[in-house]
């Protein structure tokens, strides 16, 4: 059970590492927004799922945290994308 949780946390940390590399390598604001928001969402959800496998008695708090991240993360991404489009960033 614990090793399944470690596997999920490792996959989440790899998603974060891919996000950081893409955030350096991508050439544009919108591609950076793409790589910086979607992969961090899946990374956070994977880390929280791994913590749920390791400590099953904390499941309620972790589920609340996962639902909160899943609601607010695309919302802030949409706000930043609309603002930088209105500000006439280069496409």
């Amino acid at each position: 059970m614990i090793y399944i949780g470690y596997l999920f946390i490792f996959l989440g940390a790899m998603a974060f590492a891919v996000s950081a590399i893409g955030l350096i390598r991508m050439p544009d604001v919108y591609t950076r927004l793409h790589v910086g928001t979607k992969s961090t969402t899946i990374g956070t959800v994977l880390v929280i799922m791994g913590a749920m496998f390791i400590e099953p008695s904390w499941a309620l708090k972790l589920l609340l945290l996962a639902v909160f991240i899943l609601i607010t993360n695309p919302l802030s991404s949409s706000v930043i994308a609309r603002a930088s489009r209105r500000d006439r960033e280069e496409l």
Partner: protein, 82 residues
């Protein structure tokens, strides 16, 4: 094992800090700030597993809320000014 995940996450935060310092426009810096706040939430979850105490999850929830508010307020500032 948890130390390895912490090292991976801290190196990812270091690369994101590079984009935060270098980024050409304001939007790049706001994106890097958002990514760093979400990485900090995940780092606090790993820290609560490391110390076996569950009140770090409350700190993670408040930290995620403050990061979301900061990104939203900066987006409104880019769009309309103060």
């Amino acid at each position: 094992m948890l130390t390895l995940f912490t090292i991976i996450l801290m190196s990812a935060m270091f690369f994101t800090l590079f984009r935060f310092l270098k980024g050409p426009t304001l939007s790049d810096r706001v994106i890097a700030f958002d990514v760093m706040s979400i990485m900090s939430v995940s780092l606090l979850v790993i820290l609560s597993l490391y110390f076996e105490q569950s009140f770090y999850l409350d700190i993670a929830l408040v930290f995620g809320l403050i990061g979301f508010l900061g990104a939203t307020i900066f987006g409104r500032y880019i769009e309309k000014g103060i």
